[in-house]
Amino acid sequence: MNKRQSRLFAIACTGIAAVVFLGLTVDSHRQFPTLTNEAQLTPQVIAGKDVWHKYNCVNCHTLFGEGAYYAPDLTKIAKHRGEQYLQAYMRNPAQFYDEQRHRRLMPKQDLSDEEIKNLIDFLGWVSNVDNQGWPPRPILVTGATIPGTDMTASQQAQTSGEQTTTGQVPPGARPLTGNENPIALGERLFRSVTPACNACHSVAQGANMAGPSLAGLTAKASQLVGSPDYKGKAKDPEGYIRESIVDPSAHVVPGAMYSANNMSFMPNTYGQSLKPEQVDQLVAYLSSIK
C-alpha cells in the first residue's frame, strides 16, 4: 500500500462506519418510544431524573450498570423494594444499614418528600425499560441466595414475569414434573417470584434483612393471631401467612424498620402477580419453616 492508498483506506473506513452508525441511530430513535415506554414519561418521572442528577446518585450507584460501582445497582430496585420502604430508606439510610458492620453507608441526603416521590417514580419507570433482560440475575442489596438455579428458564419466566424463550434449560438443571411436593415448589417460589421474597427475608434465626427473619414463623404467627393487638382478619397461623402475602398492610409488624404510616414496607403486588395455587405453595413452605 502506498501513502495515497492508505489515506483512501482511512477515509473509506471512517465514512462507512459513520454512515452505518448514523443510520442505526435514526432507527433507534424510531424504537425508543416502545422500548422505554415513553407514554409513561410523566412530569414526575422527568422531575425524578433531575433529582437523580441533582444529588449525584450515579457517582456511587449504578443505573443500567452505568455509574460508579461503589453502591448497589438500582435498575430494578423498584421491583425488589416497595414504595414505602424506599421512602423510609431515603429519609434516613442509617436506620437500615450499619456503617461498622456493612463498611459502607449512604449519607443522608435531606431530600424533600416531593423529591423522594419523584425519584421513586423515576426508578419505577427505569425498572420497566426493556434493556435486553439485564441484569442476568436479580441484583440484591443484601442476602445470600442462589435464585432459580434449580428451575428451567421457562419455569423461571413463569414465576418472575420476565420473557424468555421456552425450552431453554440452564446447564445442570434437574427436570421438574410439576407434581412435586407443594413445600418444595413453595421454596422455589420464595426465591424466584418478583420481587423475590429472599431479597428481603431470611429463614435463619435472628438474621433480619430488609424484612424480618421468617424462622419459626408458624409459632410466631399463632401467638400473634391469639393476641389482642392483632388487627387482621385471619383466624389461624396459615391464614395469617396468606394474609401477609397478599395484603401486607392488613397487620403491620411494629417497628420503624418494617413500616411507616401504618403501611408495611412489603410490596402489595403479590395478590395480583401470583396464581392462587402459587400462594398456596408459598404458604405451605412458609408454614414448614421451623
Binding site: 462506519a17 425508543f32 450515579v58 456503617e99 463498611r103 440475575r137 442462589i146 435464585p147 438455579t149
Partner: protein, 459 residues
C-alpha cells in the same frame, strides 16, 4: 527550544502536573473508602471524591494535549505560533474553568451526569477554549504553509474533540436517550478522537526519537486512523447493550469492539518497527521509555483488557462491576496519561537545559514505580471484579455481602495505588526541580532541522 513561542507549552505542562497530583490525591481518597467505615462521610463522600478524580483526569490530560500540541506544531511547521497571547489567555480561561468546577463539585454543583458533570457555564467555556485552541493551531499551520500528516491527524483529533463535546450540551427528558448521546461524547472521545491525538503524538515522537522514516510512519498512521475510526465509531455499541436500545446493537458492539484492538496492535507494531529500523539512538531514552511504554500499555489496558469483557455474553455478567474499573484505569493511563508524560519528558531537556538529556534517575524511578503501581491497581480491580461477578452475579449474594468478602482486594488497591502515587510524586518533583530557561537555544534557521541528534546504532 527552537521557537520562542514553544515556551507556552511549559506553562500548560506545569498546570497539568499540578492537576495530575490533585487527581491522585482524590483517587487514593476514593480507594480508601472501599474499605470503610468512612470518617469523611458527611464532608467528602465517595460521590464527591469520585467526581473530582475523574474530572481532574479529563482536565489534566486535555491540558497536557494542548501543551504538547503547542510544543509540536511549531516544530513540525517550522514557525512561531500564530498568537502567544491567545495561547496564554486560553490557558487562563481553562484554569479558571477547572478550578471553579472542582470547587463547585465540593458543594455538589453539577449536573450529576457521569463524566459530564460540568455545569452549563463551564461547558460553554470548554467549547470556547477548544475553539480558541483550534483557531490558534490552524492559523499557525496556515501561516507556515507546511502541513504534515502527523499534524493533520492531531488536528483531526482536536477538532473532533471539540465537535463531539457539543452533544453534551443538550438535555433530554428520556434518560435512555440522554445515555445514548452521552456516549457520543465519552466513547467517541476516548476511543476515537483522543486516539487520533495519541497517534499524532506517537508518530511525532517516534520520528524524532528513533529517526524513523517519515514516509513510512505517515503511511502507517493512516492505516491506524482508518482502523480506529471503523472499530471506534461502531464500537460505541458496546455501551448500548443494556440501557434500553434495540437489540441489534449487541452483535454490532461485540464484533466491532473485538476489532478495536487491531488498531492498537498496529500502533504497538508501528512503535516497535520504528525503533528496529533505526536502533534506539536518541539521547533522550527516558522519553523513549514513555513513548514505547504508552504504545505497549495501550495494547494491554485498552486492547486486551477491553476485549476481556466486551463480548455481550461476557459483558452481561461483568457489566457494572469493578471489572469496568480495571479496564478504565489501565486504558486511560496507558493511552493518554503516558503519551502526555512522554511529550513532557521529550520537551523538558529543551526547556530546562540544566537537565541531562538522557533523563534523570528520579525520572526513571517515576516511570517504573508508576508502571508497577498501575499494573498492581489493574490486578486489584480485576481480582476484586472477578470475585464480585462470581459472588454477586453467579452465586446470587447481595451486593453488600459480596463487597464485604472482597475487602482484601481493596487493601491491594490501596497498596498498589500508593506505589503509583509515589511514582507520580517523583515525576512532578522531577518536573519542577529544574527551573525553566525559556529562550531559543537552537538555531531555527538551521537548514538541517530534521537532524535532531540521532546516531544510527547500526551502520
Amino acid at each position: 527550544m527552537r521557537y520562542k513561542s514553544q515556551s507556552v507549552a511549559y506553562w500548560y505542562f506545569a498546570v497539568a502536573m499540578v492537576l495530575f497530583g490533585l487527581q491522585i490525591v482524590f483517587g487514593l481518597l476514593s480507594a480508601t473508602k472501599y474499605l470503610g467505615p468512612d470518617p469523611l462521610l458527611y464532608i467528602l463522600p465517595f460521590d464527591v471524591t469520585k467526581v473530582i478524580h475523574t474530572n481532574l483526569l479529563v482536565v489534566w490530560v486535555l491540558t497536557g494535549f494542548m501543551g504538547a500540541t503547542y510544543w509540536m506544531v511549531p516544530d513540525e511547521s517550522r514557525t512561531e505560533l500564530h498568537s502567544v497571547k491567545l495561547a496564554y489567555l486560553q490557558l487562563a480561561l481553562w484554569v479558571v474553568m477547572g478550578v471553579t468546577a472542582v470547587i463547585g463539585y465540593l458543594f455538589r454543583y453539577g449536573t450529576g451526569n457521569k463524566l459530564l458533570e460540568q455545569p452549563l457555564p463551564h461547558k460553554i467555556v470548554i467549547v470556547v477554549v477548544m475553539l480558541m485552541f483550534l483557531y490558534n493551531v490552524v492559523m499557525t499551520i496556515r501561516k507556515s504553509g507546511r502541513f504534515t500528516t502527523t499534524e493533520g491527524v492531531l488536528l483531526l483529533g482536536v477538532a473532533g474533540a471539540a465537535v463531539l463535546y457539543l452533544p453534551s450540551l443538550l438535555e433530554y427528558d428520556n434518560y435512555v436517550v440522554s445515555i445514548f448521546y452521552r456516549w457520543w461524547t465519552i466513547h467517541l472521545w476516548v476511543e476515537g478522537v483522543w486516539e487520533m491525538i495519541q497517534g499524532g503524538f506517537l508518530a511525532y515522537l517516534l520520528i524524532r526519537l528513533s529517526g524513523a522514516d517519515r514516509e513510512v510512519m505517515e503511511k502507517w498512521l493512516y492505516v491506524i486512523v482508518g482502523l480506529v475510526f471503523m472499530a471506534g465509531i461502531l464500537g460505541t455499541a458496546h455501551h448500548y447493550y443494556w440501557v434500553g436500545v434495540p437489540s441489534y446493537w449487541l452483535p454490532i458492539g461485540g464484533i466491532f469492539s473485538a476489532l478495536e484492538p487491531v488498531a492498537l496492535v498496529g500502533m504497538a507494531m508501528y512503535a516497535y518497527s520504528a525503533m528496529r529500523r533505526s536502533g534506539l539512538a536518541h539521547p533522550n531514552t527516558l522519553a523513549l521509555h514513555w513513548t514505547v511504554g504508552s504504545a505497549v500499555y495501550t495494547l494491554f489496558g485498552a486492547g486486551l483488557l477491553g476485549l476481556a469483557h466486551t463480548w455481550p455474553s461476557v459483558n452481561k455478567w461483568t457489566h457494572g462491576t469493578l471489572i469496568t474499573a480495571m479496564h478504565g484505569h489501565a486504558a486511560f493511563y496507558g493511552a493518554y496519561a503516558m503519551i502526555v508524560l512522554a511529550m513532557i519528558t521529550y520537551a523538558l531537556p529543551a526547556i530546562s537545559p540544566a537537565r541531562r538529556e538522557q533523563g534523570t534517575s528520579l525520572g526513571y524511578w517515576a516511570f517504573w514505580l508508576q508502571l508497577a503501581g498501575m499494573f498492581g491497581m489493574t490486578l486489584s480491580f480485576a481480582t476484586a471484579g472477578i470475585g464480585q461477578v462470581y459472588l454477586e452475579r453467579i452465586m446470587g449474594l447481595g451486593y453488600l455481602d459480596a463487597q464485604l468478602k472482597i475487602q482484601v482486594h481493596f487493601l491491594m488497591l490501596i497498596g498498589t495505588g500508593t506505589l503509583f502515587a509515589i511514582g507520580v510524586a517523583l515525576f512532578i518533583i522531577d518536573f519542577f526541580r529544574y527551573a525553566p530557561r525559556l529562550e531559543v537555544t537552537q538555531d531555527a534557521t538551521d537548514p538541517d532541522l530534521q537532524a535532531v541528534p540521532v546516531k544510527p546504532a547500526r551502520a
